[in-house]
Symmetry: C2
Subunit: 356 residues, 2 copies
């Protein structure tokens, strides 16, 4: 990561710390640790004080950390993470109240609290809200991930023949993603026929039949950044209910995307998609219409009915309405979109030819 990028992030985070009257922030969520340090390993915490950024890691990662994290000081921990963080914070008592990410486990928070003398408090979404606005480099990385996803899907199309199992098709897709230099950003979902009515179906040994349908929900991680796409494909002929459901999902997605613009209420985007599904007399999906993505495949903002916030320029979100009829069918169409001041850019539109 370029130093200037890191500095910009840290400045934005320190401004939020001041708002919350915090002197320093203990960062325990892996994606957030990566965001503020550049470190991509596991089991590490970061501590942001008013003067410096520290990465606390262990011996498995210390070699990697030294090369990943130019902008911060690497501490190889000896004892538990909480004890090492407390030791570090003991030397900066002047720095004021300690804020800890509220995603930290109760056990670790308590271990930290017992070992520091300052006031300490759990806080939500400090780094997450900064992270939700992507810079040009981050958008480019997500776009690269989308390109790999599109190419990988294209390469496995010829394998979508009768007899292949969900498991095998998912494996073939993951393999192509790897060959293209990426990695699956989550467990690839391949669902044939009625299996697709489970939005988070786990692949099994169901074989592809004549006149069958395929739902593929997959993502690529490339240079740390994730995309997340869902495509529905048909082998042979399909019935009118499926056609209706697919048409409704497609129209719902278009309606939601047409609302996306900085300043628009997120709940409006969600409602736009659901109104279309409802208008078709089809069951309205129970999940949200989308979510932010970036270093993780689920980030802020959540795109759902209960969210009060408005979209901001630079956010990257999925828009993924679906129709699910248990025992019969499932469709979902998911694309990745950058919010702009005047509307949006669909990063994955050129995967369109894979659809339906």
């Amino acid at each position: 990561m370029r130093d200037v990028t890191l500095q910009k992030r840290i400045r934005a985070i320190r401004a939020k710390l001041q708002e919350k009257k915090g002197g320093c922030l203990v960062v325990t969520k892996p994606g957030n640790v990566t965001y503020v340090t550049g470190f991509t390993g596991d089991d590490s915490w970061a501590v942001i004080t008013s003067r410096a950024i520290y990465l606390i890691t262990d011996s498995r990662y210390s070699e990697q950390a030294e090369s990943d994290c130019a902008g911060c000081r690497v501490i190889e921990r000896k004892g538990s993470m909480a004890k090492e963080a407390a030791r570090l914070l003991a030397g900066r008592r002047a720095a004021g109240r300690i804020l800890v990410e509220s995603t930290t486990s109760v056990a670790e928070f308590e271990a930290l609290r017992k070992n520091v003398k300052q006031r300490i408090r759990a806080v939500s979404n400090i780094i997450e809200s900064v992270r939700s606005i992507k810079d040009a480099g981050e958008v480019a990385a997500i776009r690269s991930a989308v390109r790999i996803a599109a190419k990988a899907l294209e390469r496995v199309r010829r394998q979508m023949r009768r007899g292949i199992t969900e498991n095998e098709l998912a494996g073939a897709l993951d393999f192509e993603i790897r060959r293209l230099g990426g990695q699956a950003s989550f467990e690839t979902i391949v669902a044939f026929g009625a299996n697709a009515s489970r939005p988070h179906h786990r692949c099994g040994n169901r074989k592809l039949r004549k006149n069958d349908t395929i739902l593929i929900d997959f993502g690529v991680r490339y240079k740390g950044y994730c995309c997340d796409l869902t495509r529905c494909l048909v082998v042979g002929k399909t019935g009118s209910l499926y056609e209706k459901a697919y048409g409704a999902a497609k129209e719902a997605q278009a309606a939601a995307i047409s609302r996306v613009r900085a300043g628009v209420k997120i709940s409006e985007v969600d409602a736009a998609a659901k109104d279309v599904i409802r208008g078709y007399g089809l069951p309205v999906y129970g999940h949200g219409t989308g979510h932010g993505l970036g270093l993780e495949v689920h980030e802020l903002p959540v795109v759902s009915a209960s969210v009060k916030a408005r979209l901001e320029a630079g956010q990257v979100v999925t828009i993924e309405p679906g129709v699910y009829i248990p025992g019969k069918l499932g469709v979902r169409i998911e694309d990745d979109i950058v919010v702009t001041e005047t509307g949006c850019r669909v990063l994955s539109s050129y995967c369109g030819r894979h659809e339906g």
Copy 2:
């Protein structure tokens, strides 16, 4: 899952709840939710009361939950997880103190605490300690995962030729695992040459050269259960330092395995391996000598110097000493072992022909 298996687990957990003076337990850790309900989806909690087991999930999973979880009552949540759990607990006030897994986030614990009237407390390792003892069915599942791993590795051996990248080899291995009906249980590590000095190296585009070394740390999940293996392979000739390091790791592993038996101090097993490495004058690895595995790839017990506990019959652990010399080499040998009253059984010994 068979009902009788589930009942046995719940009985053991309820006994531990009584020890801790708890009336019910809120289970938030995904592997633990699976263990007590059979449910394999995400984003779900379980609540164990003195009378029943509840699974709280959302609409994405409710269809799956009804079929997965014969032994428990499925609740499709409308509001947040904590609110739904609190609503459920409000009806069982007589059930006494609420215990919550201490791996729960501070945010969720607080949300729960605010919404219940009973006393509430975070507790560690209740289910984890029960889970650490595997029954015959669980050991059989891990053994099946090991078999798939061995077969997949065998199938990619011919691809270990000059020019293939770490990424490609990892992808080919994952693909074979999928074809055999399994899934990678964690992100496959393939490290060529000196890259192996990073115990958690992330695959890149480094190509395999003439007279090169390969470290593969990989696992398979099969029917929910994980194995975790590391093999070192040599292409062409290698140097004497590598041979020495490999020999030391091999001898260290044998020394540790020879100590494994129910009742033995875990720290002794760790020391046995490290003493061998030290005896060779090589740097002693900074990670533990092993860890339990089962539904997750890291479970209790931790096999390291600081652990006070003793091994128990039925535990399944990895034994994985290594030698790391930054910029030069890395070796690690990892097998999966069942602890018995009289010693142990190495589940992965028949993968031995892949070594060295």
